[in-house]
């Protein structure tokens, strides 16, 4: 180092160069930030927009189509943020469940040795993957759901559920005193099942003995709460929707915007998940299946103990990224007016207040937070399963 550096010019030293380059980068970055900040301040001042988050406590004064928490015009703009956020989470959670079911069924069907089923699955995958999601949302909303009958001519199922152009009206369960016992039994059952599951896995790792959790779990999660429900004298009544004037009152309403968005999201993402599932199962070396059969394992055990655990290692990271895509794609709700975060908060609230910077920043942070936290969990999970790999 000492000898060579004397002959070398200082600007040819790799460390000096990298230091110089990084200083240039920092200066450029600071310059850009300063340029943007000063322009923004100047523009805001000229337009007479005050900065800050004070607007969040002002009265909103507009209604929202669907809300999971109490909301009307008299609530604040801050409340609209949570209404939108909850609606986004609702459609994402439902979409993830439905898309996963579709994806796994179609993915397995794609690998079926039944030629017809496999080809049908392929047609489904290739059709829905290659058409833009927004177009699919529009199709379900404008071309399918708009052709439903008016409230007076609704399709009904047993005079308690009604489907018409304004949405799907379902009876709403109303818990009566004593119902909480059922809820508690249910959660207790879930907790006990998880505990048994952990114990069973530990025992299997130590002794190799397997434990059939399915029956016991079913008993704890479904049978016990149901028994408690009947012992307590069925403490549940139904609020049935009724036609009053031009529309239905009472019961639960599923707005067509939610139906269209949910259908499009789950059908679209389901096609991608099907491909993920297929590639995951195909990634398991056939030698593994053969070796398991050679050891004398039954066909169902081969799947459960050998193929699925290895396929999951490939499937889960890709599956998570599909879930993230679904959450981000749910923001397309704004195109058909489903009141999600982008539609309510970055749409209506922004137009009413004009606080573009604060609102867009808040909206983006929500999505960023969801993405980054799920990626962090994924990285942790990947590291965990990588250790097992030999």
């Amino acid at each position: 180092m000492s000898n060579s550096s004397k002959k070398q010019h200082w600007w040819n030293n790799a460390q000096h160069r990298s230091l110089f380059f990084q200083i240039v980068l920092v200066v450029m970055l600071v310059g850009i930030v300063w340029f943007i900040a000063s322009n923004t301040m100047g523009n805001l001042e000229k337009r007479g927009i005050s900065t800050g988050f004070g607007f969040l406590s002002l009265k909103a004064g507009f209604g929202i189509l669907q809300s999971l928490i109490a909301y009307d015009e008299s609530y604040s703009f801050g409340r609209t943020f949570f209404v939108g956020l909850l609606n986004t989470l609702l459609v994402s959670a439902l979409g993830i469940i439905v898309a996963t079911v579709i994806g796994f069924v179609v993915g397995v069907a794609r690998l079926s040795n039944n030629w017809l089923i496999s080809k049908l699955a392929a047609v489904y995958i290739e059709t829905f993957r290659n058409v833009p999601l927004l177009l699919q949302i529009f199709f379900w909303y404008f071309a399918v759901l708009r052709t439903l009958p008016s409230p007076r001519e609704s399709w009904s199922a047993g005079e308690s559920a009604f489907l018409n152009i304004r949405g799907l009206y379902l009876p709403q369960p109303v818990p009566e005193p004593g119902f909480s016992a059922v809820t508690w039994t249910f959660f207790l059952g879930v907790a006990v099942t998880i505990a048994i599951g952990i114990w069973a896995r530990k025992r299997q790792n130590e002794t190799g003995k397997q434990f059939n959790l399915l029956g016991l779990g079913f008993a704890f999660i479904a049978v016990f709460p149901l028994t408690v429900f009947f012992i307590a004298g069925s403490p549940l009544s139904w609020d049935i929707p009724k036609l009053q004037g031009f529309n239905f009152k009472g019961g639960m309403t599923i707005v067509p915007e939610l139906t269209a968005l949910l259908t499009a999201l789950s059908v679209y993402t389901g096609a991608f998940i099907a491909e993920v599932v297929r590639s995951g199962i195909l990634s398991v070396n056939p030698g593994q299946t053969e070796a398991a059969s050679a050891l004398g394992l039954h066909k169902s055990k081969v799947l459960k103990l050998v193929v699925i655990p290895q396929a999951m290692r490939v499937i889960i990271p890709q599956l998570t990224s599909q879930y993230l895509n679904l959450v981000k794609n749910s923001s397309l709700a704004t195109a058909i007016g489903y009141p999600d975060l982008v539609s309510v908060f970055a749409g209506t609230t922004l137009n009413q207040t004009g606080q573009a910077i604060e609102i867009i920043a808040m909206t983006m942070s929500v999505y960023l937070f969801i993405s980054l936290s799920i990626s962090a969990i994924m990285n942790w999970y990947n590291k965990k399963i990588m250790i097992v790999e030999r």
């Binding site: 970055l29 290739e126 993957r129 290659n130 177009l135 404008f142 923001s331 910077i357």
Partner: protein, 367 residues
């Protein structure tokens, strides 16, 4: 009397139930009870949907005419699409100037085909022309305002033309930015690395729709008031940033797949960082990720539909707007099917092409 058989008797033909159509059916559709049930359900679904769809789209459809009255049968009314096809393709571009759009797209079509087809001469020269000269030519063809071409303001651009312009510019500019970000993310310089990581993760973590909102609402505030930029350009900037983050991750995948020996060998030869990247690492890495690049392009192509939310008239938006025409109410299904088939044909053929490339390029690296 003994019978001596010296040659083996000829093989019997396979049983009729295991060859030919019957054999195929038994093996592929009715191998078990469960499979038979599934096959029957599948056949029922096909029987219920396919004839009806073909009937609607082709047999009972109306193809010619200029007004709504031409649609008399029960099937699809393609007259709706036919009457407005110019608008669907070019938006509100003046009809006398359509030739400019056609020329620009034909030129890029020929150039790209030249680069992709094997055994065409002078690929390097054509490549340089495509990268450095074509964008300028395309700009003057689309926008005009020079060489005797009348200027066409961007708010008149629309339809499929706008979709293609958004997708190709997004791709064109995001590619170099993506490469630089990918190199930055793998750099040993902490400042460069952290800037790249933050940039990539930020754009990948937010939905494109918020990016478009941001570019249309916040971007005008970030620049001096006298420097206002066009709505289309703002959307393009948003798309380019968004796309370059995805491109960076694809390129990073390629960089990581290059064996360490290649980096070390380049260093041992005394090549500088940039020389080793441009002559040794990137040519190999980019070759490996061409399928990934095509896939991000497909995603971008589909995502360009989102610009309708900020008020640009891409293909979907133009068709959607046409539904509101009181003379043509009630033809939304035809319109959606038309748009869907345009996207489907493009995306499906691109994804097939990327699969073909994957097979073709999968020569030296698969072990």
């Amino acid at each position: 009397m003994a019978v001596l058989i010296t040659s083996p008797s000829p093989s019997l033909p396979p049983p009729a139930s295991s060859v030919g159509v019957v054999g195929w059916l038994r093996a592929n559709l009715f191998s078990s009870v469960l499979n038979s049930v599934f096959s029957l359900i599948g056949l029922f679904i096909i029987y219920k949907t396919v004839p009806a769809a073909i009937n609607w789209a082709f047999i009972q459809a109306d193809w010619v005419g200029t007004t709504r009255d031409a649609c008399t049968s029960d099937g699809a009314c393609w007259v709706f699409v036919g009457v407005r096809i110019n608008q669907f393709l070019f938006g509100f571009y003046p009809p006398s100037e359509y030739w400019r759009v056609v020329t620009a797209f034909s030129l890029i079509g020929i150039l790209v085909a030249w680069l992709l087809v094997e055994r065409t001469p002078k690929k390097g020269l054509v490549g340089i022309f495509t990268i450095f000269c074509y964008p300028v030519i395309a700009y003057f063809l689309f926008y005009g305002g020079a060489f005797g071409l009348p200027a066409v303001e961007t708010h008149k651009w629309g339809g499929l033309m706008l979709t293609l312009i958004l997708a190709t510019t997004g791709m064109f500019f995001s590619f170099p930015i993506g490469i630089i970000l990918a190199l930055g993310r793998r750099s040993s310089m902490p400042v460069a690395k952290s800037i790249s990581v933050v940039f990539i993760e930020f754009w990948r973590g937010v939905p494109l729709i918020t990016v478009l909102f941001m570019s249309s609402v916040m971007l005008p505030m970030f620049i001096p008031e006298n420097m206002q930029i066009d709505k289309l350009l703002r959307a393009m900037i948003g798309i380019i940033f968004f796309q370059s983050a995805y491109m960076a991750e694809v390129v990073r995948g390629g960089l990581q797949a290059i064996p360490k020996g290649q980096y070390e060998a380049a260093e041992a030869l005394g090549l500088s960082y940039w020389k080793s990247m441009f002559f040794i690492i990137l040519p190999q890495a980019l070759k490996m990720v061409i399928p990934g690049i095509v896939n991000t392009f497909i995603a971008l192509f589909k995502d360009t539909t989102l610009v309708l939310i900020i008020g640009l008239f891409d293909l979907l938006a133009v068709v959607q707007a046409a539904f509101a025409d009181p003379k043509w109410l009630g033809f939304s299904v035809e319109g959606y099917v038309f748009v869907a088939s345009v996207y489907w044909v493009s995306c499906f053929s691109m994804s097939r092409y990327s699969q073909y490339l994957e097979k073709k390029l999968n020569t030296g690296h698969a072990r």
